[in-house]
């Protein structure tokens, strides 16, 4: 038994209603225990003057899989420019928006993040995704399975097989791919693009299955509810990036009819068509709808200026965006009757009206959505910006003077079209702990993460308090993973590997006969080959299966 005491820090732990309480945090055998416990304490860390928080959780960051590799392939200049040598704890490789697996783990944990979720696991690519996640150190991970464009599902819905057949299929797929939640990307739209449709609105029919995105979305919302998954549908909606898509987003919120729904990278879905450039901020309208609908959660997908690469399963949208590729190269791919992907390098420029307004729209959303428990801090890494920009984003949210300074640098036309300068809100430390820890844990259904109460995982971060929040959040004094010191004064001092979270709800075995035939006839290999076994997740070590409560 070994325990570590973090002594005299200001504990900011909103899940347990602690805001700056000076107390000790004791972690024994990888778990937080009562602060008064002294048994086995072999190390005491003096956290006086420091702020202590749970390990941060990123609910949406593209960290692995085929599209990440395509991004690396296309961004060879970035890989050459940012190289990291092999070291005692690093075989880092390099990159920024296209970081290698080891570098992803290092850069995240250096900022105090200890759990990151990959939001786009295409089923056919799940084996690749898991193999790659195994090589990411320090982080607990999990994947969201992309459904809603897969031909088997669309055929099930279109042929009127019924909700329970859909539920069985969804449960089978989650178990087969060892994933944690359901993601929908452009419901039915990626599939429609394979049939040469170039756009698909919420109530427009897929040319082959004659299904609307609304029908696909509501069917999968029902499946998630009835299977008892903790995380709601994680939705990348229709019309990503299209001016005027605020209406689609509002209609999508209404379509949920009060049931839980998570809208991801909502910044890319909050555009109006006002002004002489026919591109305007829809943030106020979207924020108002989020404020009024307590069933809705969002992550922002903040844009930051600089070179990055956009990688998405939404090939329909990425095909539309191919002309703005910078550098001028891009890759698209249709995949396995399942989904697709499009990878388009892109540089967001502060002198560009559209890019600068995207930046402002993201901040408006953060500042206008009132309940911090329903908005999460993301850049949709690497699509809006690399996740390494989080400390800068945190300062923008916590420091109005700094924000106004940055806003003042933008072109006048942009400043005229945004209310960022008028917004006085500054996120408090407590609110920052909510949007980066407590709220993500809650929406993912983790009872033992995102807080520092007894029983929580021993992931803790000590920040030296500073008025420059960017510096404060960029280099914590200490990061502990399962009670082990991993980062000290910004330097990695130990190596650890996390676990992979997954769910496996029950299903009626009758679905297996149908899937066996589907794989044999349509996909062209066996369902038994497609299914991942437990031994394939981190060599059989480190998979965590979460119980689900299936409604009868």
């Amino acid at each position: 038994m070994s325990a570590v005491r973090i002594a005299n820090g200001k504990v900011v732990d909103p899940a347990n209603a602690e805001t700056g309480v000076v107390r000790d945090v004791v972690i024994r055998d990888g778990r937080v225990v009562d602060a008064a416990a002294s048994e086995g304490v072999s190390e005491t860390i003096d956290a006086k003057g420091g702020v202590v928080m749970a390990g941060a959780i990123d609910i949406h960051s593209h960290i692995a899989g085929g599209k990440s590799n395509l991004a690396r392939l296309l961004m060879v200049e970035e890989q050459r420019a940012i190289r990291e040598p092999e070291g005692p704890f690093c075989g880092c490789g390099g990159g920024l928006g296209t970081m290698t697996a080891h570098a992803i783990g290092c850069r995240y944990v250096e900022m105090g993040y200890t759990a990151v979720f990959e939001p786009a696991v295409v089923a056919a690519n799940a084996r690749h995704m898991h193999a790659e996640m195994k090589d990411i150190p320090f982080l607990d991970t999990g994947g969201y399975l992309v459904l809603g464009n897969d031909d088997f599902l669309l055929d099930l819905i279109a042929s009127g097989a019924g909700q329970s057949a859909v539920n069985d299929y969804v449960a089978w797929m989650l178990a087969a791919t060892k994933t944690f939640a359901i993601k929908i990307v452009n419901p039915g739209g990626i599939n429609a693009f394979k049939f040469n449709a170039r756009k698909l609105d919420l109530d427009e029919k897929n040319p082959h299955y004659e299904l609307t995105p609304r029908k696909i979305l509501t069917t999968l919302i029902d499946a998630v509810t009835q299977l008892g998954l903790s995380h709601p549908i994680h939705l990348h909606g229709c019309n990503l990036g299209v001016p005027g898509n605020e209406d689609t987003t509002l209609a999508t919120i209404a379509a949920a009819e009060g049931r839980p729904l998570h809208l991801t990278h909502v910044q890319f879905h909050s555009y109006g068509t006002e002004g002489d450039r026919r591109f305007s901020s829809g943030a106020a309208k979207i924020a108002e709808a989020v404020n009024k609908n307590p069933n809705i959660t969002v992550d922002v997908g903040q844009v930051m200026f600089g070179q990055t690469v956009t990688a998405s399963a939404d090939f329909m949208s990425q095909y539309r965006n191919r002309g703005i590729a910078s550098p001028k190269r891009w890759i698209g791919m249709d995949m396995e009757m399942d989904a697709a992907c499009g990878v388009v390098p892109f540089a967001y420029k502060d002198k560009s009206f559209v890019n600068a307004l995207q930046w402002a729209i993201g901040l408006e959303l953060f500042l206008l959505i009132e309940d911090p428990w329903r908005v999460f801090l993301t850049t949709d890494h690497p699509n809006g910006a690399p996740f390494t920009t989080y400390p800068h984003l945190i300062r923008l949210l916590m420091d109005k003077a700094f924000r106004d300074e940055q806003f003042a640098k933008l072109p006048k036309a942009v400043r005229k079209h945004s209310i960022v300068g008028e917004l006085a809100r500054e996120y408090t430390l407590e609110e920052m702990a909510i949007v980066t820890r407590a709220a993500p844990a809650k929406i993912l259904g983790f009872k033992d993460r995102g807080h520092l109460g007894a029983g929580a995982v021993g992931d803790a971060v000590i920040y030296a308090e500073a008025s420059d929040y960017e510096a404060m959040f960029a280099t914590p004094a200490y990061v502990l993973k399962n009670g082990e010191v991993i980062v000290k004064d910004g330097e990695i001092v130990g190596l650890a590997y996390g676990q992979t979270h997954q769910v496996a709800p029950d299903y009626d075995k009758g679905i297996e006969t149908k899937l066996d035939r589907w794989f044999d006839e349509a996909v062209g290999y066996k369902a038994s080959t497609f299914k991942l076994s437990d031994s394939e997740i981190r060599d059989g070590q480190g998979a965590v299966a979460h119980a689900t409560m299936r409604a009868s």
Partner: protein
């Protein structure tokens, strides 16, 4: 049969790792170390799966039989002194590739796969300009017009048409049209294509780049350029297709492969403006695709890479095995899939190789290793890049994996 004789068992639905098509309907009869393919596999796969049952050779150091420990110690000693190592072959599962990359990061040297020539030709387009690609299941169900560019891929991918292009598909009516542009179907292909409509568009020798250039112009709606053959009918067919696919096996193309691929990509680009089309670039023998992927996510570059002082670089010429062996002092040859001889070289040789490998020159250290998908479980990738293939363990012949051997060598390095 005596009591001591092992009972024969049959493994079914075995995944074949060799060419990259990923057939998973192979049946193997296993009796001790003896393996007899009894169904599913093509002739090439069967020949590679078949094992006589004779005990595997012992490791050797300087030609003398040695224990595994001794061989590992001898390899570590050679590598500790290596100034210019070359990591060649790379024919192993993803765990084996990870281990080679770790070793190279530690001691330096170039890393390349023995079958990377086709991959490099594809990269000349995908890495510099990008493309629109597709996968086997999409081709099976959606592709009403399949154009095979250049030589028939059947030579490298034996059951290509049976696996990827059956005669009908879910999303189109009638038989599939398969058009050979500048190549001809092999006899084995015609048997697989029974029921499909097979056509050939002959191209003068060396004229494939020109033909594809002209086809791209037509596909983009441009005025036809002069040349033989007339490609207007093919362009019309492609434009009218629901989902046209241009497929090629880069390793089978001639010296002008880079340009052939670039122009085929341009044809597909042009077709997508109004309709749908995609490329199916094939390259994948001996888990080449898995080696490419694992190198990208661990190192940040595709193959070929080189390490110096723990920092990696990417250069397809400098780090090609062919170039690198000229200045090598130690070659580490990993080939777990087939008994292929290592590249010719003056350098010291450490061979982690198939037990049946016949060497022209006795290696300094020879460690026979198991085959992923027969002797141990592992991960390989299919030739269309997206699908990972779970390889199983089907016998125990006492052969270690590449990953195990390299992990033990790494432990011994100073």
């Amino acid at each position: 049969m005596t009591d001591a004789a092992p009972a024969a068992t049959t493994s079914r639905n075995v995944v074949c790792p060799f060419c990259g098509l990923g057939c998973d309907d192979v049946a193997l009869e296993v009796e001790g170390a003896k393996v007899t393919p009894v169904g599913g596999s093509c002739g090439k796969g069967a020949a590679l799966f078949a094992r006589s049952g004779a005990p595997a050779p012992d490791p050797r150091v300087n030609g003398r039989e040695a224990s595994l420990d001794e061989a590992i110690a001898a390899a570590a000693e050679l590598l500790a002194e290596a100034r210019s190592p070359v990591h060649a072959g790379l024919a192993t599962d993803v765990d084996g590739v990870r281990a080679v990359l770790k070793l190279a990061a530690r001691i330096g040297g170039s890393v390349d796969h023995h079958a990377s020539e086709g991959l490099v030709r594809n990269l000349a387009s995908s890495q510099r300009k990008g493309w629109i690609a597709t996968t086997f299941a999409e081709v099976r169900n959606r592709c009403d017009v399949l154009v095979v560019v250049g030589p028939d891929p059947e030579k490298a991918f034996h059951r290509f048409y049976a696996r990827v292009a059956p005669k009908t598909g879910r999303f189109f009516e009638g038989p599939r049209r398969v058009i050979f542009l500048g190549g001809a179907p092999a006899e084995g292909s015609l048997a697989q294509l029974e029921g499909s409509t097979v056509e050939t568009v002959a191209v003068p020798e060396g004229g494939l780049v020109d033909a594809l250039s002209r086809l791209a112009v037509l596909a983009a709606g441009g005025a036809p350029l002069k040349g033989e053959p007339d490609l207007a009918p093919l362009a019309d067919t492609l434009k009218a297709a629901k989902y046209a696919v241009l497929a090629w096996s880069a390793s089978s193309l001639d010296d002008d492969a880079d340009l052939v691929i670039e122009r085929a990509v341009a044809v597909v680009d042009a077709l997508n403006v109004e309709g749908r089309a995609a490329c199916l670039p094939l390259s994948g023998k001996d888990n080449l695709t898995g080696a490419y992927h694992a190198t990208l996510w661990n190192v940040g570059f595709p193959l070929r890479v080189g390490f110096r002082g723990g920092v990696a670089d990417h250069d397809q010429r400098a780090y090609a095995t062919e170039t690198a062996v000229k200045t090598a002092d130690v070659v580490v040859w990993t080939q777990a899939f087939r008994p292929d001889a290592p590249p010719e070289s003056e350098a010291r040789l450490i061979a982690l190789a198939h037990p049946d490998t016949e060497f022209e020159r006795e290696p300094d250290v020879f460690i026979p290793v198991g085959q992923p998908g027969l002797d141990h479980a592992g991960l390989a990738f299919r030739a269309d890049s997206v699908v990972g293939l779970p390889l199983g363990k089907h016998r125990d012949a006492g052969l270690p994996s590449v990953a195990d051997v390299l992990a033990r060598i790494l432990e011994r390095l100073p």
